[in-house]
């Protein structure tokens, strides 16, 4: 609640609730695309964000993958950064103080190679001032062991969720992988295990080849596809998941405009995360928020919450070729 103290009553209400966490607006930064927020402090007003989700944190520091780590593809990019990060201890001592000073909720993205690691990181984050929530990465496709298995098996996804939830003491968001046959099965399992919210989608596993050198474009051979190219897949998955769970769903995937964000909300997302677009326009999140105010005013919405899940799927005229039932 303390985050909302300066809400301007003359502006439309963009507040949304992610479980017990209240956000001033639905726009968050996606993990791994916004560093530890400070990188952007001279480029935008960080205090306007709905929430900051920081770069994924592991128990021990990780140096990441060899280069090349990124390659541009049609309307998107592939990355295999390899979860480079400073580790949970240095994150707490070096990064968290600055983040705690921001006037927005800070959600810490965590990742582990084993159940015990997820729990250990959660324990170390417990009680650290400024940590408003934990996002659990069970879906990163870049690390050979751990991550990918948790995100693709409903039972394992549920076990991580339950373990982190038991320890966390703050709302727990589970970030789902799109690299599964039925994302709703994982979503349900994670909800049943006690998740406070779901964020989706993480990157789609992809590959690019350099014909000239006959080599993979990434040193890791495969990587995660992000950017506008994945938006239709992300919208579909958010729509499907929102139908089957009752906890808040956070939409991620190729969002780079207010329109994109609102489409995800219509599909059932309570909030959104903006990822790859931060690389192209470091001010994009702020521009999306400004656009939401403009949209709410133009549409005379008392609250932006009124469009969540408001997708009109029942069209007035039925299929003209439908056979009448007898």
């Amino acid at each position: 609640m303390e985050y909302l103290s300066q809400r301007d009553e003359t502006l439309p209400d963009l507040r949304v609730n992610i479980g017990s966490l209240e956000l001033a607006n639905p726009v968050m930064t996606a993990s791994g695309t916004f560093g530890y927020a400070r990188e952007f402090e001279n480029l935008m007003n960080l205090h306007r964000l709905g929430a900051v989700i920081v770069k994924g944190i592991s128990l021990h520091p990780r140096v990441g993958n060899p280069p090349p780590r990124i390659v541009e593809t049609a309307c998107g990019m592939l990355n295999a950064i390899g979860l480079q990060n400073v580790g949970v201890d240095r994150f707490i001592t070096e990064k968290m103080k600055y983040l705690a000073g921001l006037n927005v909720p800070v959600i810490v993205n965590i990742l582990g190679d084993s159940l015990a690691e997820y729990v250990e990181i959660t324990e170390r984050l417990k009680g650290v001032p400024g940590v408003a929530g934990i996002e659990v990465n069970i879906s990163c496709p870049n690390v050979k062991k751990g991550g990918v298995a948790f995100g693709t098996d409903p039972a394992m996804a549920a076990s991580v969720t339950a373990a982190v939830k038991k320890t966390a003491g703050v709302p727990v968001m589970i970030k789902l992988s799109p690299n599964v046959t039925d994302i709703t099965a994982i979503a349900r399992a994670v909800e049943d295990a006690g998740a406070d919210s779901l964020s989706l989608i993480n990157t789609l596993i992809g590959m690019a080849i350099d014909l000239k050198t006959r080599r993979p474009a990434l040193a890791n051979v495969i990587g995660g596809l992000s950017g506008p190219a994945i938006k239709p897949v992300a919208l579909r998955m958010v729509y499907q998941v929102a139908q089957v769970v009752s906890i808040p769903v956070i939409g991620i995937g190729g969002i780079d405009s207010t329109e994109d964000a609102l489409e995800f909300m219509l599909a059932g997302a309570t909030a959104v995360q903006v990822g790859t677009a931060n690389f192209v326009n470091p001010r994009v999140t702020e521009e999306i928020i400004e656009g939401m105010y403009a949209y709410a005013e133009a549409e005379k919405l008392l609250t932006i919450r009124s469009i969540i899940g408001g997708l009109q799927t029942k069209v007035a005229s039925l299929n003209p070729f439908e056979q009448p039932s007898c």
Binding site: R69, I70, E72, C75, Q84
Partner: protein, 262 residues
Amino acid sequence: MSQYQEKATVVRVEQFSEKNFRLTLDCPLIAESAKPGQFVMIRTAVGKDPLLRRPFSIHQTSKAGRIQIYFKVVGRGTHILAHVKIGEELSVFGPLGKGFRLNALAPAVIVGGGLGIAPMLFLAKENSRLKKNCDNDLIILGAREKNEIAPLLDDFRQFGLKLLTATDDGSLGHHGFVTEVLQSVELPAGCIVYACGPEPMMAGVNEICRFQGIPCQVSVESVMACGMGACLGCSRPAKKGTYTHVCLNGPVYDAEELIWNI
């Protein structure tokens, strides 16, 4: 450290050879704060494809609030940039990265190879602005053939520094590499070598400098998505045993810090 996203108007387009171009852009905030060796990220498309900005070293700045980039058409992004019209607006983000560390007293030996010539004009300009005396300074420029250097010679000559050239085909100056020129001249005592060019060239310059005990700064290039430390995509191995990020820790390094990609 101020960085800006500016809508920069294209004020001049110069074509030097089939694929080499120079753009002059009106972006006063970036022009005023840029330092030699820093770079900018430029959006080449208004829409979503190509999605990412392209990094370019700053070729030079002017008091009139303009910057120049010098580039070669290598892919779709640079192809689009080569075809921009005067008056068009481009989104330019910068200045980014750490530039060259200039020294007002030490003689400068400036070595540019191929497109590595690009940042050296800005460096030569600031170097001569900073110093009372450039008598011992030296510029060595190399490329595949004459047309990649000749159109820039007037700009480089305005500082009055000794200037040597080398081309792979012998069409201008020494027939061979800039490293051979560097090896053949007697370098001024207490000088600093600044180099930018292909990796094998910089590795060669690094070796010559190491042998002679001369400090050497190099500017390297890398693919990158953001240019400002968020994506961690521009990693390259450093001797200290970890990755360094070209956008934040570079693009200018002490040559001894790096492991060469050759």
